[in-house]
Amino acid sequence: MNSEHIQLPNKDKIILSILGIIGLISLLYIGANDDLGHTRLWTNLLHNSVYFTLVALMAIFFLCVNVTAYAGWDVVFRRVWGSMSYFLIVGLLLMGIIALGVYFGWHNLYHWADQHTAETDTIIKGKSGFLNKNFYTIGGLGFIVLWFFFAKKMRDYTIAEDDHGDGRWAHYKSMKFYAALFLPIAGFTSAAAVWLWIMSVDPHWYSTMFAWYATASCFVSMIALTILILIYLKSRGYYHGVTSEHFHDLGKYMFAFTIFWTYLWFDQYMLIWYGNIGEETIYFQTRIQEYPILFYGNLVINFVLPFLILMRNDTKRKYGTLIIVGILVFVGHWIDLFQMIKPGTLHTAMELGDHASAAATHGHEAGTHGAHGHEFKMGFTIPGIPEIGLMLGFVALFVATTLHFLSKASLTPKQDPFLQESLHHHV
């Protein structure tokens, strides 16, 4: 019952391919209608690459948390997380492209990467020990390799356990060792990666909370995506062992971490608002004035709606509500990351674009006319249709990667010591 391998219907493969093609077309469309610096193209690439890479990181992180914490309930579908984490390979490739861009000046994503700025801007100069091309490349990509190393270890042991596992639980013990070791490593490196990839697009601004906030955002998305993938696989006749009891617990995680994300959002906002220091408030000032829909919408999609819908017991057990909330928060946190990245990169593009004497373009206008506010520019102050298309392409890429690795082994670890607990799980 649980040892089956998945074989997807051709129809679904075609749908995934179509979504992938939509993504590709969107990418080409954006590229063809872009300004000289290809601001829109690169910001979208950075946005999606970081988002899906961090979702993959959260998958392996949560897997390791569960292994370390003697969790039994999730074993039946634990390999979904293991397979999701293998997107790190794709993430490495994508972040590699961006890092090469930083190295060779293909894009204007990071103000600090500009030679002239790095030498003349005192504040950016002070940060050059961390924000420099070498660390971005070696450090940033090194983190992904390190995360993938643990993802691979966890996968190798659980697959080996299928055939060679016995009552001595040697594989389980090895998994526990690597899982525990990964937790502090993930704790330190995820923060550094978030500073490097996301926070440094606003290179003058800083917040100690930021890394935990961005990570919590991706954690909620990871849980949402897990729920969606599991519901899909069940609809195709797999995972009989996954019952509404498991969905109830996943729903509780989605509910709890939605509140946790809001808690971090509130703390960061409240303390900066209360302190009222110009260098700090400018971050929210920009977003409230130039990105009001995203700023307030962020809270509605990622807190108000999931909070109200998931408050009841039965909404965490029914596919309908889980699918709605899952899609909502997955897109919601994608938008959250959009509003973390776009304002800073647009500002940089505008400043550096002047040096390159680029013609007035979308990016340019959005940046310079920002003070007027409420001027919505597709792809800049709100995601446009090509952005949605690109996101769908990335979702297809992520899901296809996950399903690919999921199909390589049994869907459920056959010899895991907690398997029976998981199969008999009751909330």
Binding site: Y206, T208, Y263, G275, I277, E421
Partner: protein, 475 residues
């Protein structure tokens, strides 16, 4: 809640092949017997220390706040440090009761009762400090907003110090409810074994509990509702305590990571205090079969995790201080590590971040001796953390001409030691009047946690293989 199937790698949580009757016997008897000599000596010491603390409080009120070491630059130091320290300790109780209940961690049943009691006593100790630090304790009712005849005098609703009053009183009320709810069936167990006046008292305390199915059902729903309510409360209390500092614009205080980092630190210190108490309690009351090495190991793991989270937060602060490019922020942290109070920073880092790392070694986290010493270490480290944040930062403010040094007077030290006396006095009375381990909840997990059912010495092994243990199944 406790499913019938137990994974073969789980280890027993109740040792000694206990029957239900034996559990009642073992856990009720400390309240029925005359106290041991060790208890009496410890109680006398606690009460004496408490008495000295009360004298110091009296001294402060009689002579005035000038008996403290605070000066024009460092307006608060020892009092607020102790307040935050005690509030932090008061976190583990509700965390164990509420969050571990939601996570269905069975090991919580061995320690939840004592941890909840500890929470209540710690919050009482903490609440003392704001009351006495105002100097004029007779106007302490100004803390509370109420319709008054003083014109427009109201507490400042913009101040996190006022939010503290609400957060802590709410937390205290809910924790007390939670603790008492758990005690109701256990008071009934004691009543059933008692006679005369004792029976009458425990009957009132248990609200005439009869143990009917309806009672249990309501009791379980209430526990879940209270767990749901207290989970956000656990976070809110230390969040607001952190706001006391973080809403300011003082470098070293104004940092956005403070709320979750304070909460992690609070859980860290709370668990350390639970360990201190549990190691002593299990020995003195002979409860080693209920508070097992398994429990101690689990709590040591929580200490390791939260200690490391705190470590990530310390390094985040340090890193961002450098990254900010803001000289005052950079100085604040440079001053913490190398300034006049370097020793407190050193103590904080050693006790909180470095020393808990020994718990990576299984042997050490299963050693009662090491656990006890580590728990004291962590308590010291977390006290230093608050002292570092408060005194070090205030001693070197924006204006070098007002830089100053703070050292506590005997009165302040006396009050702090007095609160420790208060804490232990309450705790020791508690061990005499109520079961230190929750009887009903231990019985609830017997068939999935007892060593006759699971683990190496199990004698009823077949039963759980056939999943027939539905008696403890609550859907």
């Amino acid at each position: 809640m406790s499913g019938g199937v137990v994974a073969p790698v789980r280890r027993p949580l109740i040792e000694g092949h206990k029957t239900y009757h034996q559990i009642t016997e073992d856990l009720c008897s400390p309240t029925e017997k005359a106290p041991s000599k060790a208890w009496i000596i410890a109680f006398i010491i606690s009460v004496s220390v408490l008495a000295f603390g009360l004298f110091c409080i009296f001294w402060t009120i009689w002579m005035g706040i000038g008996t403290w070491g605070s000066n024009r630059t460092i307006g608060w130091a020892y009092d607020i440090t102790n307040f935050v320290w005690w509030i932090g300790i008061g976190h583990a109780g509700t965390l164990i009761s509420a969050i571990l209940l939601l996570f269905r961690q069975r090991w919580r049943t061995g320690v939840n009762r004592a941890a909840e009691a500890m929470t209540i006593f710690a919050v009482i100790c903490a609440a003392l400090f704001p009351a006495i630090h105002v100097g004029r304790i007779w106007v302490v009712f100004y803390f509370f907003p109420y319709p008054n005849t003083r014109g427009s005098i109201w507490p400042n609703f913009n101040s996190p110090l006022l939010w503290d009053v609400f957060a802590i009183s709410t937390y205290f009320s809910v924790s007390l409810l939670f603790w008492y709810t758990g005690l109701v069936p256990d008071f009934a167990s004691i009543r059933n074994r008692a006679s005369g006046l004792r029976k009458k008292i425990y009957n009132s305390l248990s609200f005439g509990w009869t143990g009917s199915a309806k009672h249990w059902q309501r009791w379980e729903s209430l526990s879940l509702v209270l767990a749901g309510l207290s989970t956000p409360l656990v976070l809110s209390v230390h969040t607001i305590v952190s706001f006391d500092f973080a809403t300011s614009v003082i470098p070293g205080w104004h940092t956005t990571i403070f709320p979750p980092y304070f909460v992690a630190g609070a859980i860290f210190s709370g668990f350390a205090m639970v360990q201190t108490l549990m190691v002593m309690t299990r020995k003195i009351l002979k409860l080693q079969e209920y508070i097992t090495i398994e429990h101690i190991e689990s709590m040591n793991k929580v200490i390791l995790v939260t200690g490391t989270i705190v470590g990530v937060a310390y390094l985040t602060e340090l890193f961002i201080a450098w990254y900010s490019g803001y000289v005052y922020e950079q100085f604040a942290f440079f001053n913490r590590a190398t300034g006049i109070y370097w020793w407190s920073y050193f103590g904080m880092m050693t006790c909180n971040v470095i020393s808990p790392q020994i718990f990576w070694v299984k042997k050490l986290r299963r050693s009662v001796f090491v656990t006890f010493f580590m728990s004291i270490f962590v308590n010291i480290g977390m006290w230093f953390e608050r002292f570092v944040i408060i005194a070090t930062t205030l001693a070197r403010d924006y204006l070098p001409s007002s830089w100053s040094y703070y050292r506590p007077t005997w009165v302040e030290i006396g009050i702090f030691i007095g609160t420790i006396g208060l804490f232990f006095t309450f705790y020791m009375i508690f061990t005499r009047v109520a079961p230190v381990v929750a009887i009903a909840e231990i019985k609830h997990i017997l068939k999935v946690g007892g060593d006759q059912y699971i683990g190496e010495n199990a004698t009823h092994k077949n039963q759980h293989d056939t999943h027939s243990l539905s008696s403890t199944n609550h859907h």
